[in-house]
Symmetry: C2
Subunit: 160 residues, 2 copies
Amino acid sequence: MEHIISVLVENKFGVLSRVANLFSGRGYNIESLSVAPTLDPSMSMMTIVTRGDDKIIEQIVKQLNKVIDVIKVVDLNETEFVERETALIKIHTRQEDRADSTPTTYTIEVTGDIRKVEACINLFQPLGIKELVRTGRVAIAREPVRQAAAQPRRVLKEEK
Amino acid sequence: MEHIISVLVENKFGVLSRVANLFSGRGYNIESLSVAPTLDPSMSMMTIVTRGDDKIIEQIVKQLNKVIDVIKVVDLNETEFVERETALIKIHTRQEDRADSTPTTYTIEVTGDIRKVEACINLFQPLGIKELVRTGRVAIAREPVRQAAAQPRRVLKEEK
């Protein structure tokens, strides 16, 4: 089963190597990985999409927590989450439909969950995809919906 | 100066480690990195945003080309390119504006170039960003605009 794991790390040399070495050394699969800045310039956030049964995912989380400069590891599959990915897709235009001085390709941006991105790639594939680049997925946990208690009404006017 | 480098790699264990080790071992900066599938399941595409003067970038490209399972390295700054990044931004809602049983946060998706993404993050920061996750940038080269030669007209009717 596929899991999305977010890993908050200190922005220090070698932390990406250590995480990558952990996966390659133990033969854990990486479907996609992205690492990018956070609001705090001393930290970066990694998002790793990996596959494995519960036991393997548990091991991955445990091992990641032991890596130097790893601050926090969250398996997003333990909760509901929103995921997004962006793909840039360069498509051949059909020359016969075009005037003679126009471009020969379109570049299309697609952002959505994995189903939407893969549906668009499948849609454009028969037209001839010249180049494709994907960001890999990022995800954020949904907040639990809290049913707040009814609030006491303010007494606007004292009643006798 | 910032450079976006795309690295096409064989989808084999250890290639991400080798690339990450190259950067950390030589002290090259990684601003963001993403690695994701391509149309060909035997290959992945990495996009690395790094900083350095021309000499350092030249070294990085040269070293990347020597890494086992690296197929192709392109410094996108050598041409014009389109870049995109996606950020998911979870923002606190202001409790005083809300009825009592509604959610306490919004999650916003932003896709655009680095300026747009960072402008949105700066815009939302005073409202209180609870969580932020970014994909890192991906980019695709613009096609050179070719001015095609005027095409010969078809002779519809022979004139005498």
